[in-house]
Protein backbone atom coordinates (compact mmCIF):
# COMPACT_ATOMS: atom_id res chain seq x y z
CA UNK A 1 0.00 0.00 0.00
CA UNK A 2 2.55 2.49 1.19
CA UNK A 3 4.91 1.82 -1.66
CA UNK A 4 2.50 3.14 -4.27
CA UNK A 5 3.12 6.75 -5.19
CA UNK A 6 -0.48 7.79 -4.73
CA UNK A 7 -1.18 5.67 -1.71
CA UNK A 8 -2.59 7.37 1.33
CA UNK A 9 -1.21 7.14 4.80
CA UNK A 10 -2.21 8.61 8.11
CA UNK A 11 -0.58 10.92 10.58
CA UNK A 12 -1.70 11.36 14.14
CA UNK A 13 -0.29 14.26 16.13
CA UNK A 14 -0.43 13.86 19.89
CA UNK A 15 -0.05 16.94 22.08
CA UNK A 16 0.74 16.28 25.73
CA UNK A 17 1.63 18.09 28.90
CA UNK A 18 5.32 17.50 28.12
CA UNK A 19 5.68 17.61 24.39
CA UNK A 20 4.44 16.48 21.01
CA UNK A 21 4.57 13.04 19.43
CA UNK A 22 3.81 12.22 15.82
CA UNK A 23 2.47 8.82 14.83
CA UNK A 24 2.31 7.45 11.32
CA UNK A 25 0.42 4.51 9.90
CA UNK A 26 -0.49 2.97 6.59
CA UNK A 27 -3.46 1.02 7.93
CA UNK A 28 -4.50 2.91 11.10
CA UNK A 29 -3.72 -0.19 13.14
CA UNK A 30 0.08 -0.33 13.30
CA UNK A 31 1.65 2.99 14.21
CA UNK A 32 5.23 4.20 14.34
CA UNK A 33 5.97 7.06 16.67
CA UNK A 34 8.46 9.93 16.64
CA UNK A 35 9.11 12.39 19.40
CA UNK A 36 9.12 14.05 21.72
CA UNK A 37 9.20 17.37 19.96
CA UNK A 38 9.20 20.40 22.29
CA UNK A 39 10.07 18.21 25.25
CA UNK A 40 8.88 19.76 28.54
CA UNK A 41 6.55 22.22 26.85
CA UNK A 42 2.84 21.55 26.84
CA UNK A 43 1.09 21.27 23.49
CA UNK A 44 -2.50 22.37 24.12
CA UNK A 45 -3.52 22.68 20.45
CA UNK A 46 -2.74 21.18 17.07
CA UNK A 47 -4.02 21.99 13.60
CA UNK A 48 -3.13 19.93 10.56
CA UNK A 49 -3.68 21.87 7.37
CA UNK A 50 -3.99 19.47 4.43
CA UNK A 51 -5.06 22.08 1.90
CA UNK A 52 -1.60 22.76 0.51
CA UNK A 53 0.80 20.55 -1.40
CA UNK A 54 2.27 19.14 1.77
CA UNK A 55 0.54 19.01 5.13
CA UNK A 56 1.37 21.79 7.57
CA UNK A 57 1.32 20.87 11.23
CA UNK A 58 0.68 23.86 13.48
CA UNK A 59 1.03 23.57 17.23
CA UNK A 60 0.32 25.75 20.18
CA UNK A 61 3.33 25.42 22.47
CA UNK A 62 3.49 26.62 26.02
CA UNK A 63 6.41 26.57 28.39
CA UNK A 64 5.73 27.21 32.04
CA UNK A 65 8.87 29.34 32.03
CA UNK A 66 9.09 30.88 28.59
CA UNK A 67 5.45 31.41 27.71
CA UNK A 68 3.22 30.47 24.81
CA UNK A 69 3.92 30.46 21.11
CA UNK A 70 2.84 28.87 17.84
CA UNK A 71 5.16 26.84 15.63
CA UNK A 72 4.60 25.07 12.36
CA UNK A 73 6.25 22.32 10.35
CA UNK A 74 5.90 21.66 6.63
CA UNK A 75 8.02 18.52 6.73
CA UNK A 76 6.12 16.36 9.21
CA UNK A 77 8.12 17.49 12.18
CA UNK A 78 11.66 17.29 10.79
CA UNK A 79 11.95 21.04 11.38
CA UNK A 80 9.84 23.68 13.08
CA UNK A 81 9.44 27.37 12.38
CA UNK A 82 8.38 30.02 14.82
CA UNK A 83 7.60 33.47 13.42
CA UNK A 84 10.05 35.98 14.90
CA UNK A 85 7.47 38.23 16.47
CA UNK A 86 5.06 35.46 17.37
CA UNK A 87 2.13 34.19 15.34
CA UNK A 88 -0.27 35.33 18.04
CA UNK A 89 0.51 38.42 20.04
CA UNK A 90 -1.94 40.85 21.58
CA UNK A 91 -1.75 44.38 20.17
CA UNK A 92 -0.54 46.97 22.64
CA UNK A 93 -3.91 48.64 23.13
CA UNK A 94 -5.50 45.34 24.20
CA UNK A 95 -3.39 45.40 27.37
CA UNK A 96 -3.31 41.63 27.53
CA UNK A 97 -0.76 38.88 27.09
CA UNK A 98 -1.32 35.54 25.41
CA UNK A 99 -1.49 32.75 27.94
CA UNK A 100 -2.28 29.65 25.89
CA UNK A 101 -3.46 28.69 22.41
CA UNK A 102 -6.40 26.34 22.84
CA UNK A 103 -7.53 25.84 19.28
CA UNK A 104 -6.04 25.96 15.79
CA UNK A 105 -8.70 25.52 13.13
CA UNK A 106 -7.84 25.43 9.43
CA UNK A 107 -10.82 26.85 7.52
CA UNK A 108 -12.56 25.30 4.51
CA UNK A 109 -10.82 24.15 1.33
CA UNK A 110 -12.42 27.10 -0.46
CA UNK A 111 -10.52 29.53 1.79
CA UNK A 112 -6.89 28.39 1.54
CA UNK A 113 -4.56 30.08 3.97
CA UNK A 114 -7.31 30.96 6.42
CA UNK A 115 -6.71 29.53 9.87
CA UNK A 116 -8.58 30.47 13.03
CA UNK A 117 -7.30 30.26 16.58
CA UNK A 118 -9.01 30.31 19.95
CA UNK A 119 -6.99 31.47 22.92
CA UNK A 120 -6.69 32.23 26.60
CA UNK A 121 -7.48 34.90 27.66
CA UNK A 122 -10.79 34.47 25.83
CA UNK A 123 -10.13 35.62 22.30
CA UNK A 124 -10.49 34.53 18.70
CA UNK A 125 -7.88 35.14 16.02
CA UNK A 126 -7.72 34.75 12.27
CA UNK A 127 -4.79 34.18 9.96
CA UNK A 128 -4.85 34.52 6.20
CA UNK A 129 -1.29 33.32 5.65
CA UNK A 130 -1.55 29.72 6.73
CA UNK A 131 -1.14 30.32 10.44
CA UNK A 132 2.04 32.37 10.46
CA UNK A 133 0.41 35.58 11.67
CA UNK A 134 -2.96 35.96 13.31
CA UNK A 135 -5.07 39.04 13.87
CA UNK A 136 -7.17 39.57 16.97
CA UNK A 137 -10.92 39.45 16.35
CA UNK A 138 -11.96 42.85 17.66
CA UNK A 139 -15.67 42.15 17.56
CA UNK A 140 -15.30 39.52 20.24
CA UNK A 141 -12.51 41.25 22.19
CA UNK A 142 -14.59 44.41 22.49
CA UNK A 143 -17.80 42.50 23.28
CA UNK A 144 -19.74 44.05 26.20
CA UNK A 145 -20.04 40.61 27.83
CA UNK A 146 -16.29 40.06 28.02
CA UNK A 147 -15.81 41.34 31.55
CA UNK A 148 -18.40 38.80 32.74
CA UNK A 149 -16.91 35.75 31.07
CA UNK A 150 -15.27 33.52 33.64
CA UNK A 151 -12.60 30.93 33.92
CA UNK A 152 -13.32 27.23 33.94
CA UNK A 153 -11.03 24.90 35.83
CA UNK A 154 -8.54 24.86 32.96
CA UNK A 155 -8.53 28.60 32.35
CA UNK A 156 -10.71 31.07 30.46
CA UNK A 157 -10.52 30.36 26.76
CA UNK A 158 -12.30 30.27 23.44
CA UNK A 159 -11.81 26.61 22.61
CA UNK A 160 -14.20 25.76 19.78
CA UNK A 161 -14.51 27.45 16.39
CA UNK A 162 -16.91 26.27 13.70
CA UNK A 163 -17.17 28.10 10.39
CA UNK A 164 -19.95 27.29 7.93
CA UNK A 165 -19.24 26.72 4.21
CA UNK A 166 -20.13 30.33 3.32
CA UNK A 167 -17.65 31.71 5.80
CA UNK A 168 -20.25 34.12 7.11
CA UNK A 169 -21.72 32.07 9.93
CA UNK A 170 -19.23 31.39 12.70
CA UNK A 171 -19.98 29.67 15.99
CA UNK A 172 -17.53 29.68 18.85
CA UNK A 173 -17.69 28.24 22.34
CA UNK A 174 -15.88 29.44 25.41
CA UNK A 175 -15.52 28.27 28.97
CA UNK A 176 -17.12 29.96 30.61
CA UNK A 177 -19.38 32.12 28.53
CA UNK A 178 -21.02 29.57 26.27
CA UNK A 179 -21.80 29.69 22.58
CA UNK A 180 -21.50 32.90 20.55
CA UNK A 181 -22.53 33.26 16.94
CA UNK A 182 -21.52 35.65 14.21
CA UNK A 183 -23.51 36.03 11.01
CA UNK A 184 -21.04 38.42 9.42
CA UNK A 185 -17.86 36.39 9.28
CA UNK A 186 -16.79 37.37 12.78
CA UNK A 187 -17.40 41.11 12.77
CA UNK A 188 -20.07 40.95 15.47
CA UNK A 189 -21.15 38.30 17.96
CA UNK A 190 -24.26 37.35 19.94
CA UNK A 191 -24.69 34.79 22.70
CA UNK A 192 -26.71 31.76 21.57
CA UNK A 193 -27.28 29.52 24.60
CA UNK A 194 -31.05 29.16 24.90
CA UNK A 195 -31.76 25.71 26.28
CA UNK A 196 -28.25 25.03 27.58
CA UNK A 197 -28.16 24.67 31.34
CA UNK A 198 -25.83 26.59 33.62
CA UNK A 199 -26.99 24.74 36.75
CA UNK A 200 -24.01 26.11 38.67
CA UNK A 201 -25.28 29.70 38.38
CA UNK A 202 -28.02 31.42 40.40
CA UNK A 203 -30.09 31.69 37.20
CA UNK A 204 -29.62 28.31 35.53
CA UNK A 205 -30.80 29.65 32.17
CA UNK A 206 -28.82 32.83 31.59
CA UNK A 207 -28.23 34.43 28.22
CA UNK A 208 -24.56 33.57 28.58
CA UNK A 209 -22.19 32.18 31.17
CA UNK A 210 -22.64 28.52 30.30
CA UNK A 211 -19.67 26.20 30.45
CA UNK A 212 -19.95 24.62 27.03
CA UNK A 213 -17.05 22.18 26.69
CA UNK A 214 -17.09 21.57 22.95
CA UNK A 215 -19.23 22.19 19.89
CA UNK A 216 -19.10 20.57 16.46
CA UNK A 217 -21.08 21.08 13.25
CA UNK A 218 -23.20 18.49 11.52
CA UNK A 219 -21.68 17.31 8.24
CA UNK A 220 -24.52 18.39 6.03
CA UNK A 221 -27.49 20.05 7.73
CA UNK A 222 -27.12 23.82 7.73
CA UNK A 223 -27.54 25.27 11.21
CA UNK A 224 -27.23 21.95 13.01
CA UNK A 225 -24.58 21.75 15.71
CA UNK A 226 -23.92 19.47 18.65
CA UNK A 227 -22.61 20.51 22.06
CA UNK A 228 -21.06 18.70 24.99
CA UNK A 229 -21.81 20.90 27.96
CA UNK A 230 -20.64 20.90 31.56
CA UNK A 231 -23.42 18.37 32.22
CA UNK A 232 -25.70 18.17 29.23
CA UNK A 233 -25.43 17.06 25.63
CA UNK A 234 -27.36 19.19 23.16
CA UNK A 235 -28.23 19.73 19.52
CA UNK A 236 -29.43 22.82 17.72
CA UNK A 237 -31.08 22.77 14.30
CA UNK A 238 -31.36 26.52 13.90
CA UNK A 239 -27.84 27.78 14.28
CA UNK A 240 -28.00 28.06 18.05
CA UNK A 241 -31.33 29.83 18.45
CA UNK A 242 -32.56 26.85 20.47
CA UNK A 243 -30.71 23.91 21.96
CA UNK A 244 -32.40 20.67 22.98
CA UNK A 245 -31.07 17.80 25.02
CA UNK A 246 -29.88 14.67 23.25
CA UNK A 247 -28.38 13.11 26.37
CA UNK A 248 -30.94 10.35 26.72
CA UNK A 249 -29.33 6.99 26.11
CA UNK A 250 -25.91 8.06 27.34
CA UNK A 251 -24.54 6.68 30.62
CA UNK A 252 -23.74 10.24 31.75
CA UNK A 253 -24.20 13.71 30.36
CA UNK A 254 -20.81 15.06 31.51
CA UNK A 255 -17.75 15.01 29.30
CA UNK A 256 -15.53 17.18 27.18
CA UNK A 257 -15.49 15.66 23.71
CA UNK A 258 -17.80 16.32 20.78
CA UNK A 259 -16.87 15.01 17.34
CA UNK A 260 -18.86 14.95 14.13
CA UNK A 261 -18.53 12.97 10.94
CA UNK A 262 -16.91 14.92 8.09
CA UNK A 263 -19.48 13.79 5.51
CA UNK A 264 -22.43 11.92 7.02
CA UNK A 265 -25.18 13.95 8.58
CA UNK A 266 -26.44 12.86 11.97
CA UNK A 267 -23.27 11.12 13.13
CA UNK A 268 -21.45 12.37 16.22
CA UNK A 269 -19.28 10.90 18.97
CA UNK A 270 -18.96 11.70 22.69
CA UNK A 271 -16.89 10.17 25.47
CA UNK A 272 -18.95 10.43 28.67
CA UNK A 273 -17.50 10.98 32.11
CA UNK A 274 -19.47 10.23 35.24
CA UNK A 275 -19.94 13.73 36.62
CA UNK A 276 -18.37 17.09 37.32
CA UNK A 277 -17.41 15.87 40.78
CA UNK A 278 -16.24 12.45 39.52
CA UNK A 279 -14.32 12.97 36.33
CA UNK A 280 -13.85 9.31 35.47
CA UNK A 281 -15.56 7.12 32.89
CA UNK A 282 -18.87 5.79 34.29
CA UNK A 283 -18.12 2.60 36.29
CA UNK A 284 -14.48 3.19 35.35
CA UNK A 285 -15.27 1.67 31.95
CA UNK A 286 -13.96 3.76 29.09
CA UNK A 287 -16.39 3.89 26.19
CA UNK A 288 -17.05 6.07 23.19
CA UNK A 289 -20.68 6.63 22.23
CA UNK A 290 -21.83 7.32 18.71
CA UNK A 291 -25.12 8.51 17.35
CA UNK A 292 -26.11 8.05 13.73
CA UNK A 293 -29.48 9.75 14.09
CA UNK A 294 -28.49 13.18 15.39
CA UNK A 295 -28.76 12.19 19.02
CA UNK A 296 -32.03 10.23 19.07
CA UNK A 297 -30.08 7.13 20.09
CA UNK A 298 -26.53 6.27 21.07
CA UNK A 299 -24.40 3.17 20.53
CA UNK A 300 -21.80 2.19 23.12
CA UNK A 301 -18.40 1.46 21.56
CA UNK A 302 -15.72 -0.14 23.72
CA UNK A 303 -14.14 -2.96 21.74
CA UNK A 304 -10.40 -2.80 22.22
CA UNK A 305 -10.53 -0.33 25.08
CA UNK A 306 -9.13 -1.23 28.52
CA UNK A 307 -11.32 -2.87 31.13
CA UNK A 308 -10.50 -0.27 33.72
CA UNK A 309 -9.82 3.43 33.22
CA UNK A 310 -9.84 6.24 35.73
CA UNK A 311 -8.49 8.98 33.49
CA UNK A 312 -10.52 11.63 31.73
CA UNK A 313 -10.41 12.49 28.04
CA UNK A 314 -10.05 16.24 27.51
CA UNK A 315 -11.99 18.33 24.99
CA UNK A 316 -9.41 18.37 22.23
CA UNK A 317 -7.89 15.00 23.01
CA UNK A 318 -10.18 13.43 20.42
CA UNK A 319 -10.38 13.78 16.67
CA UNK A 320 -11.60 12.20 13.48
CA UNK A 321 -9.88 11.86 10.13
CA UNK A 322 -11.47 12.20 6.69
CA UNK A 323 -10.92 8.67 5.39
CA UNK A 324 -13.64 6.18 4.50
CA UNK A 325 -14.61 4.75 6.90
CA UNK A 326 -13.75 7.60 9.22
CA UNK A 327 -11.04 7.09 11.80
CA UNK A 328 -11.68 8.05 15.42
CA UNK A 329 -8.83 8.89 17.78
CA UNK A 330 -8.54 9.89 21.40
CA UNK A 331 -6.06 10.07 24.24
CA UNK A 332 -6.41 10.04 28.01
CA UNK A 333 -4.87 12.03 30.79
CA UNK A 334 -3.12 8.75 31.62
CA UNK A 335 -1.13 9.03 28.42
CA UNK A 336 -2.79 6.31 26.37
CA UNK A 337 -3.92 6.94 22.80
CA UNK A 338 -6.42 4.81 20.90
CA UNK A 339 -7.32 4.67 17.22
CA UNK A 340 -10.29 3.23 15.39
CA UNK A 341 -10.28 2.65 11.64
CA UNK A 342 -13.99 1.85 11.59
CA UNK A 343 -15.79 4.83 13.08
CA UNK A 344 -15.39 3.59 16.63
CA UNK A 345 -16.58 -0.01 16.24
CA UNK A 346 -13.18 -1.22 17.42
CA UNK A 347 -10.11 0.48 18.82
CA UNK A 348 -6.46 -0.39 19.06
CA UNK A 349 -3.84 1.21 21.26
CA UNK A 350 -1.46 3.54 19.45
CA UNK A 351 0.76 4.23 22.44
CA UNK A 352 0.57 4.26 26.20
CA UNK A 353 2.40 5.90 29.10
CA UNK A 354 2.85 9.27 27.44
CA UNK A 355 2.33 12.39 29.58
CA UNK A 356 -1.28 13.62 29.91
CA UNK A 357 -2.76 13.87 26.44
CA UNK A 358 -4.12 17.38 25.82
CA UNK A 359 -4.98 17.15 22.14
CA UNK A 360 -4.85 14.84 19.15
CA UNK A 361 -5.37 15.58 15.47
CA UNK A 362 -5.34 13.10 12.61
CA UNK A 363 -5.05 13.57 8.88
CA UNK A 364 -4.86 11.57 5.70
CA UNK A 365 -1.73 12.40 3.74
CA UNK A 366 -0.78 11.54 0.20
CA UNK A 367 2.10 9.15 -0.22
CA UNK A 368 3.79 7.19 2.47
CA UNK A 369 6.03 9.93 3.79
CA UNK A 370 6.52 9.25 7.44
CA UNK A 371 7.58 11.75 10.05
CA UNK A 372 11.33 11.48 10.39
CA UNK A 373 12.73 10.70 13.80
CA UNK A 374 13.36 13.97 15.54
CA UNK A 375 14.73 14.65 18.95
CA UNK A 376 13.95 17.56 21.18
CA UNK A 377 16.88 19.50 19.75
CA UNK A 378 14.98 19.96 16.50
CA UNK A 379 12.41 22.06 18.27
CA UNK A 380 12.91 25.76 18.81
CA UNK A 381 15.03 26.14 21.89
CA UNK A 382 13.36 27.38 24.98
CA UNK A 383 10.08 26.43 23.39
Amino acid sequence: MGTMANAESYILAIGTKKGLWLAHSEDRKEWSLTGPHFLMSEIPSIGIDTRGESPRIMVGVRSEHWGPTVAHSDDLGASWTEPEHGAISFPEDAGAALERVWQIYPDADSRPGVVWAGCEPISVWKSTDGGEHFELNRGLWDHPHRSEWGAGYGGAAAHSIVVDPSGEKVHIAMSTGGVYRSLDGGASWEARNKGISAYFMPDPNPEFGQCVHKIAADAAVDGRLYAQNHHGVYRTDDGGENWESIAEGLPADFGFVMLTHPRRSGTAWVIPLKADGERIPPDARLAVHRTDDAGASWKRLETGLPEREYNAVLRDAASVDTAEPVGVYFGTRGGAVYASADEGESFSEVVSHLPDVLCVRAAVVRGAAAPVPADAAAAPAGG
Binding site: H65, G67, S89, G382
Partner: protein, 90 residues
Protein backbone atom coordinates in the same frame (compact mmCIF):
# COMPACT_ATOMS: atom_id res chain seq x y z
CA UNK B 1 23.51 39.66 30.53
CA UNK B 2 24.06 35.95 31.16
CA UNK B 3 21.60 33.56 29.52
CA UNK B 4 20.66 30.08 30.70
CA UNK B 5 21.70 27.30 28.35
CA UNK B 6 18.21 26.67 27.08
CA UNK B 7 17.91 30.21 25.73
CA UNK B 8 21.35 30.44 24.14
CA UNK B 9 20.29 28.99 20.75
CA UNK B 10 17.87 31.90 20.46
CA UNK B 11 20.81 34.32 20.74
CA UNK B 12 22.91 32.70 18.06
CA UNK B 13 24.55 30.41 20.59
CA UNK B 14 25.87 33.20 22.78
CA UNK B 15 25.88 32.73 26.53
CA UNK B 16 26.51 36.38 27.34
CA UNK B 17 24.96 39.41 25.66
CA UNK B 18 26.43 42.83 26.21
CA UNK B 19 25.28 46.35 25.59
CA UNK B 20 27.38 49.51 25.49
CA UNK B 21 26.91 51.44 28.71
CA UNK B 22 26.97 55.18 29.01
CA UNK B 23 25.97 54.95 32.64
CA UNK B 24 23.35 53.20 34.70
CA UNK B 25 20.36 51.79 32.84
CA UNK B 26 17.29 49.88 33.95
CA UNK B 27 16.94 46.14 33.50
CA UNK B 28 14.08 46.93 31.11
CA UNK B 29 16.30 49.11 28.93
CA UNK B 30 19.10 46.56 29.08
CA UNK B 31 16.69 43.84 27.91
CA UNK B 32 15.58 46.08 25.05
CA UNK B 33 19.20 46.62 24.06
CA UNK B 34 20.45 43.05 24.20
CA UNK B 35 17.40 41.29 22.78
CA UNK B 36 16.69 43.78 20.00
CA UNK B 37 18.24 41.50 17.40
CA UNK B 38 16.63 38.39 18.89
CA UNK B 39 12.85 38.87 19.01
CA UNK B 40 12.08 35.24 19.86
CA UNK B 41 14.47 35.44 22.80
CA UNK B 42 12.80 38.70 23.85
CA UNK B 43 9.39 37.02 23.94
CA UNK B 44 10.68 34.19 26.11
CA UNK B 45 11.67 36.66 28.83
CA UNK B 46 8.89 39.27 28.68
CA UNK B 47 5.33 38.95 27.38
CA UNK B 48 3.80 41.35 24.88
CA UNK B 49 2.75 43.77 27.61
CA UNK B 50 6.40 44.06 28.62
CA UNK B 51 5.95 42.13 31.87
CA UNK B 52 8.63 39.75 33.03
CA UNK B 53 7.32 36.19 32.68
CA UNK B 54 6.27 34.75 36.00
CA UNK B 55 8.86 31.98 36.24
CA UNK B 56 11.75 33.89 34.77
CA UNK B 57 14.06 35.37 37.38
CA UNK B 58 16.58 38.10 36.73
CA UNK B 59 19.39 38.72 39.19
CA UNK B 60 21.33 41.93 39.61
CA UNK B 61 24.22 41.69 42.03
CA UNK B 62 22.86 38.36 43.17
CA UNK B 63 19.50 39.87 44.08
CA UNK B 64 16.31 38.91 42.26
CA UNK B 65 14.88 42.03 40.68
CA UNK B 66 11.36 41.42 42.00
CA UNK B 67 12.83 42.13 45.45
CA UNK B 68 14.36 45.32 44.13
CA UNK B 69 12.52 47.58 41.71
CA UNK B 70 11.51 44.97 39.20
CA UNK B 71 12.40 45.79 35.62
CA UNK B 72 13.07 49.36 36.77
CA UNK B 73 16.01 48.12 38.83
CA UNK B 74 19.15 49.97 37.81
CA UNK B 75 22.19 48.27 36.40
CA UNK B 76 25.54 50.03 36.60
CA UNK B 77 28.05 49.97 33.78
CA UNK B 78 30.06 46.74 33.89
CA UNK B 79 27.59 44.98 36.12
CA UNK B 80 26.50 41.44 35.33
CA UNK B 81 22.84 40.53 35.04
CA UNK B 82 21.85 36.86 35.17
CA UNK B 83 18.68 35.24 33.85
CA UNK B 84 17.67 31.96 35.48
CA UNK B 85 14.43 30.07 35.13
CA UNK B 86 12.82 29.29 38.45
CA UNK B 87 12.09 25.80 39.63
CA UNK B 88 8.55 25.10 38.51
CA UNK B 89 6.35 22.39 37.11
CA UNK B 90 6.29 18.67 37.65
Amino acid sequence: MVLPGVLQPLAGGQSVLTAPAGGAVTVDALLDAVTGDYPVLARRIRDETGALRRYVNIYVNGEEVRRLRGLETEVAAGQEVVIIQSVAGG
